[in-house]
Amino acid sequence: MLKYLFAKEDDIPQGSAAIFFAVSSIAWFIIGTGLGSFNAAKLAFPDMFHGLYALQFGHMRQVHVHAVIFGWIAMAFAASMMYITPALGNTKLWSEKLGVWNCLLYNIGLCLALALLWSGITSGREYSDHIWPIDLYIAFIMVIPWCVNVWMTILNRRTQGIYTTNWFFAGSMLMLVIVFLIGNMPEFLHLTGLNEAYMTWWFAHNVLGLLITPVAAAITYYIVPKITGNPLYSHRVGHLHFWSIVVFYSTPAAHHLMSSPLPEWLKSFASVEGVLILVPAVAYVCNLLLTMQGRWAMFVENIEIKFTITGVLLAIPLNMQGGFQQTRAINWYIHGTGWIVAHAHLALLGFSTFAEAAAVYYGMQVLLRRKLWSASLANFHFWMLLIGFSLYWVSMTISGLIQGAAKIYEVPYVDVVIAEHPYMIVRWLGGTMVFFGNITWLYNMIMTARAGDPVPVGRQPAEVAYTR
């Protein structure tokens, strides 16, 4: 890949940037989930790695979070955008060279950012932990060149209209830049007090709601019609999804701080807007599941559809939790407990990871023009991910309910820790399954690039999946 850094634009094969991003994202997924499993082990058995002072829990916890968000999720998004946007515009990526440079500088920046967090150099703000020089690097070197590539590809499209997926890509990237720069204002301008606390969660909410959720949804809007051959059930419902994301998803940030001393009007407003998140959620899930009409066999037979639709189905509990758990009636019970940890993993490891994994599987096959090396290994990966995630989700939900009950009954905290112990072990087990599943995925992808059967010109990988 590095040989293309100084090549002429015309000499760089189409899809190079997407492949570079895709392979990087899988590597970061392995690193991120490996760290997650490592951290989870310490929550079950605190002295397990005693003596490894360089890898203290308080330092590695945020490295795990940022490795999966910036490494896996965001880079898988970049990979998807770099091949889906031109495909939907019937054109080439605006600049492969920019894309390749973008990916290289992205990886370098991420290594630097994680190394700083690892050594404890942090802003002390959850999800915006990076220090402000790194924030500026992320915004101007990692994100804006990526945006420019996506926007210019859409502007230079050779189709009349813009398909749903591309509005989401373009709009989300614009919102990401705005959210990232405004959300880090406390660091740039040294805002203090509740403003700082509120802006921290404003950022955390919006980076999930205006980047991760809509882009993951946009990917499924592409993958499902493309692979099943069915047209999207309804573009109008797609419009409803897009506009309700912009209007409703960008407003409930304060519902992350329902039990803190924020102004009451702000908490009430956020709570009502939070329930309205169900509008885009229901529109989206219905639209995708109805697109599957008559093609449900592919949910079993086709690996990309299996991943995508699992992601869409996981969006149902995700949004039902998300819509209601932030209301005052429920929030006081589960706030700050393992329930929320489970919910966050349902969003990132459930819904969005399954959608992105599908996009990376499909993109690698299309761009390399090679059939997946092993369908069995891909199925193994799917089940490791799904079972591992489920163990994690169920165990953390239960441990959250234990913590919630302990709030009412004023149990000494150590009894909560004792009661949670078995669930901490299950959580570790689940995370470890995801980690090992991802290693087989990387192996499968490397073998696909080296030894996968070529896909004939004009055919889709899905059409030849079972031919030898």
Partner: protein
């Protein structure tokens, strides 16, 4: 953008997002910024100084550029006995918290009292100084620049102090070591107060950065922990190896914050300690090995000071 609909769509998008930003950023910002500081907020600002996360003056989060909190029972200037008083010593060059350098942080009444009665306008970062938190007759808290009002200078105050708390540097350790990933600093407004004490008020945070509320509670809330447990001996054992005082704790050991030597200058050998501890855990010894007392300038001491100061 070929279609008229796309132009209209872009405009609608801009309007929708701007409105959303106005409601969720500008309005809350105006409301929160208009809230007056409580006494707790003034104490926190004077304890933690300017900024606790990454900043120019302490880029590696070593606890630099922080004030020292002291307790006094005699007047540093005259030597006369006084009621027990907390004073906040800013050695020359220590950066002041936002409340002292910006006039829009404390709230109007508090700001006015701090300037008129507390003489904070005379304070100068390059010279340092000593501050206390006082109240007016109608209970408005304000910051008093004791160097100007009482003649307490930095050296005399440190000398006259009964106790010194490096709580500001300790908060740096709290942020750097990620304590707040498990311990919240936010008793919730619903059920929590029975176990963890009074939830904070809206004006308790003015000028503090970062607030480190924490979100994912895996351990007790610490906002008032110093009121529940004020034993330094317990804290020393607990930070060195939590299992010494709480066998079921899942907290990591923070023995590496002790540094190379203990308070008597004796070298600390963590590996040897651990070996002895494992033998004890297997029943070979009746007592666990002795926990070294942290040196006066050790990071462990800073962190313990911070926790004990959370009243």
């Amino acid at each position: 953008m070929a279609f008229r609909e796309y132009r209209i769509g872009c405009i609608m998008f801009g309007i929708a997002l701007s409105l959303s930003m106005f409601i969720t950023v500008i309005l809350p910002g105006l409301d929160i910024s208009s809230r007056s500081s409580t006494k707790a907020a003034l104490e926190k600002q004077l304890t933690y100084g300017w900024e606790t996360g990454f900043n120019y003056y302490d880029p590696f989060l070593q606890g630099k550029d922080k004030p020292i909190k002291v307790t006094l029972t005699k007047d540093p200037a005259t030597g006369a006995a006084i009621d027990k008083t907390d004073a906040y010593v800013f050695p020359a060059g220590t950066h002041f918290p936002s409340g002292l350098t910006h006039d829009n942080i404390l709230g109007d009444a508090v700001q006015k009292a701090s300037v008129d009665l507390g003489k904070v306008g005379l304070a100068d970062e390059t010279k340092g100084g000593v501050f206390v938190v006082s109240s007016t007759a109608n209970d408005t808290p304000y910051i008093e620049y004791a160097t100007a009002t009482k003649g307490w200078n930095v050296d005399a105050t440190l000398k006259a102090a009964d106790e010194q708390f490096l709580a500001g540097s300790g908060k740096t350790m709290f942020v750097r070591e990620g304590c707040w990933w498990c311990h919240t600093l936010l008793p919730e407004q619903t059920q929590d107060w029975q176990s963890f004490g009074r939830p904070p008020l809206v004006g308790d945070f003015n000028g503090e950065s970062p607030t480190t509320f924490g979100s994912d509670r895996k351990a007790p809330d610490l906002l008032h922990v110093g009121s529940r447990n004020s034993s330094r001996e317990w804290m020393v054992m607990h930070f060195f190896n939590p299992r010494l005082v709480q066998p079921h704790s899942i907290m990591p050991r923070y023995d590496y914050l002790w540094g190379d030597v203990d308070i008597d200058g004796k070298p600390i050998d963590l590996a040897a300690w651990d070996e002895h501890y494992l033998e004890y855990a297997e029943g070979a010894h009746v007592y666990p090995p002795e926990v070294p007392i942290p040196a006066a300038d050790s990071e462990a001491r800073m962190l313990i000071d911070f926790v004990l100061n959370l009243k």
